[in-house]
């Protein structure tokens, strides 16, 4: 049972993470490759709080505080990296954020107080599957409502055409920085949940590979689609695990089969499973 619970936990955390990157990458169109860095900052900052500075209150309240610490720490990093980097575009922004993600990881590795390269141990088990899915649900609702508000429209307009967006009165820098900061902050919350369900953190949890992995979930689900992000996170976490049980050669080759499936899916639907749209029971009109 533990194995399945663990997978469910990871799925829930990745839903939150994918949604947070979708805000930066899918909504605002800013190509960020350092998202695992924000995730790591949130995880370590919240664990730092609970291990060393926890208040003498009930663990649930402490968990809420830990998530706020994770959010704030990552959001501050988002501002620090966003202010200089968001002037860059496309590939250049990707490289700058990639560099940031690695810097974070190395700083964590060098910090003795959080265990350095040995990892951070003895983190209290204050979060569980209910926490994880409650937060995932909240973030999903937040994103859906944001998308349908004037604020979200302004962010999406930046992705569509920066010059035209500015011409409609959208302050580009303000909205880019907003999505970057909130996206980073939500990744920080996911980090806090990760830390307090796993009870152990290691710098290698937050390396470049994971940034790419979250990005693939966003793209596969459909950039700009909230429901797509949820599906992307679920599918991409479960497929590699499900292949373990396929038996025989398939299990042995699962990490080869998995990328092939990804390639096939991207060829079939280059815009992602949902494209920019949301999942809906109502039939969409052909014209749109």
């Amino acid at each position: 049972m533990d194995y399945y619970l663990q997978i469910l936990l990871i799925v829930g955390i990745f839903i939150t993470l994918t949604l947070s990157l979708n805000l930066i990458n899918g909504f605002c169109g800013q190509f960020s490759l350092g998202h695992a860095g924000f995730w790591g900052v949130g995880a370590y900052a919240s664990a730092l709080y609970t291990v060393f500075y926890a208040l003498p209150v009930h663990s649930s309240i402490n968990m809420i505080i830990a998530m706020m610490v994770g959010f704030l720490a990552s959001a501050v990093c988002g501002i620090l990296i966003g202010v200089p980097c968001l002037r860059l575009k496309g590939d250049y922004l990707a490289i700058a954020t990639l560099g940031f993600g690695e810097i974070i990881r190395i700083i964590i590795t060098m910090t003795e107080k959080v265990g350095g390269p040995r990892g951070f141990i003895n983190i209290p088990h204050w979060a569980n599957i209910y926490w994880v899915y409650f937060i995932a649900l909240l973030v999903t609702i937040f994103m859906l409502n944001l998308k349908r508000s004037a604020f979200g429209r302004a962010i999406i307009s930046i992705r569509e055409d920066e010059i035209a967006a500015e011409n409609m009165g959208v302050n580009l820098f303000r909205y880019k920085l907003f999505s970057f900061t909130i996206g980073a902050g939500i990744a920080g919350i996911a980090g806090a949940l990760f830390a307090h369900t796993q009870q152990f953190l290691h710098p290698s949890n937050f390396n470049f590979m994971w940034s790419v992995c979250i990005l693939v979930m966003v793209i596969l689900g459909g950039q700009g689609s909230v429901t797509g992000s949820v599906v992307g996170a679920v599918v991409l976490t479960i497929i590699p695990e499900a292949l373990r049980f396929a038996g025989g050669n398939i299990s042995a080759w699962r990490m080869t089969i998995f990328p092939v499936l990804l390639i096939a899916l991207m060829l079939a639907r280059p815009q992602g499973i949902f494209g920019p749209h949301e999942f809906s029971w109502k039939k969409r009109r052909i014209s749109t």
């Binding site: 035209a164 967006a165 409609m168 920019p276």
Partner: protein, 260 residues
Amino acid sequence: MTIPLLILENVTMKFGGLTAVNDVSLQVNQHDLVAIIGPNGAGKTTLFNTITGIYVPTSGSVEFNHKKLTNIKSSDITERGIARTFQNIRLFKDLSVLDNIKLAKHTRIHYGFWAGIFRTKKFHQEEQKIEAECLKLLSLFKLEDKKDFLARNLAYGQQRKLEMARALATAPKLLLLDEPAAGMNPTETKELTELIHLIRDQFNIAVILIEHDMKLVMEIAEKIFVLDYGQLIASGTPKEIQNNKRVIEAYLGVEIEASL
């Protein structure tokens, strides 16, 4: 009524060694319908870009509604009441026609971020109001039945119209149209002529257009400014411009005495 709305004083725009706009001074009054013409590369679009804050003029000043526009962000200039369309259409192609217009209402929306997240009563009221306004605007441009289409799926002429509608949705006092008739057939151009008149009168705004279609310009503009190599070489009524020697020279070249 001649209340000055836009005043350009000695505006110069240099890109390195190239002077795209050279010492241009002009005035546009409220409710004016003026045209800027000139050969290709005369600096017409650059002039638009300096007015809308995309470029900061090298020297000189732009004054709009009695306030200087120097060092003001492009997005804030929109809020103050200048809207424009682009020479190469810049719609939000993957959004619906209605969303394109709604976006233009950005600076006129009066609910906060959290009202949108919690979908409060105020949010619903404002959104309904905006949607009604947008639909009204779309029907004026005869695009209401296309409201759910993606902007990219509209016909070319409709895209141009949508861009104008979107510019108008920002509730401007001055509308800048950059070659609105480019690529349109004669019927569409005729329709456009009527539309521009209608816009000016119904919304009670001033319009400046850049246009190469001389028939349209002469028919529509009350006043014409002629640019050549970045300089303002003439201004006046269509009639005056048609007979202006310098304008003819700029378009057709200088007559050389037939000595050969």
